[in-house]
């Protein structure tokens, strides 16, 4: 019975993973990836790890994939075009490397001898919230704290990367005539997210404020 469930969920995971690679539209890849996450959560439940399974669904299939789908929608990506300016031998190379990797792992799985371990706790203790929490806050407190610093760095880094201000591309052009700029570019004392529109009299003034060479104004 458990073997049948394993085969079902493992087949689902492998099929969805193949679909992630095979799909040309990133949105379909993302939905297939959610299928992989859900079937892995089912496997975690079979492995007596219900808390990990719940976190898998909430964090991976929920938060991270929402972020990915949001970015796909935001950027409005068109489908991947077939074989233009692409190295021709890349797919055969990938297949060969994948075969080598699978062969290595299969070799290890077959040749490493069986080992016996003595369980240190009763099976019902493993995987419940209590044991995970006590382990996380006692013996593994340092990795936990390092993780919090990592998340802080990720927040700051993401905000810095996705910020728009001052990142004009070198070939930016100004249209001659009146310009409308956000207030925070005009008045340095305004808050950086103050986007109230300010009318500029000329393109030269706007160019000076934006740090763009005024000679780059485009003739309409």
């Amino acid at each position: 019975m458990l073997a049948l469930l394993f085969i079902l969920f493992a087949g689902l995971a492998i099929g969805c993973a193949l679909a992630v690679v095979a799909q040309r539209n990133p949105l379909y890849s993302a939905i297939s990836l959610i299928g992989v996450f859900i079937s892995l959560a089912c496997l975690y439940i079979m492995l007596a790890a219900p808390f990990i399974a719940a976190v898998q669904v909430i964090v991976y299939a929920g938060a991270i994939m929402v972020l990915v789908v949001f970015v796909i929608m935001l950027l409005n990506v068109e489908q991947q075009e077939r074989g233009r300016t692409r190295l021709k031998f890349l797919v055969p190379t990938a297949v060969v490397l994948a075969a080598v990797l699978i062969a290595e792992v299969a070799f290890i799985l077959v040749t490493v001898q069986e080992f016996r371990v003595n369980p240190t706790a009763s099976p019902s203790d493993i995987g419940i919230t209590n044991s995970i929490g006590s382990g996380l806050f006692t013996r593994y407190l340092l990795p936990f704290e390092i993780t919090s610093i990592l998340l802080l760095m990720a927040i700051v880094g993401a905000m810095t990367l996705a910020r728009r201000g001052g990142l004009l591309s070198p070939d930016a052009r100004l249209i001659p005539g009146a310009q409308t700029l956000p207030l925070h570019l005009v008045d340095p004392s305004a808050a950086p997210d103050d986007l109230r529109p300010v009318e500029m009299e000329s393109s030269e003034e706007a160019a000076r404020l934006l740090g763009v060479d005024p000679r780059l104004t485009r003739k309409e």
Binding site: V55, V68, I72, A98, L101, S169
Partner: protein, 101 residues
């Protein structure tokens, strides 16, 4: 017949290999990103399988660390993807061949 530890390890290896293959052959940077997530999940399955068969909770704790790293990677990675797209109007990794954003 109960599922053995080697079954889970084999499944994890297959998923990891599919992820590696995807990273090599995909051109869209978001698709490559999702293949990396697939590889992280394959490793997570290994951790949970060992934790379950050895009756040791440590493996499950490391799954948490991996998930946090994945979340941080998602935030920073998608920020980089947005910055690349804003500058190049393309998500093709072949066109983003210099590090300058």
């Amino acid at each position: 017949m109960e599922p053995q530890l080697s079954w889970y390890l084999a499944l994890s290896a297959i998923l990891f290999t599919i992820g590696v293959t995807g990273v090599i052959i995909k051109r869209n940077v978001i698709a490559m990103f999702m293949c990396i997530e697939l590889m992280l999940n394959a490793v997570n399955l290994t951790f949970v399988a060992f934790a379950s068969f050895f009756q040791d909770v440590t493996g499950q704790l490391f799954v948490f660390i991996v998930m946090t790293v994945a979340a941080a990677e998602a935030a920073v990675g998608l920020g980089i993807i947005i910055a690349i797209f804003r500058n190049r109007e393309s998500l093709d990794v072949d066109e983003a061949s210099i590090l300058k954003l």
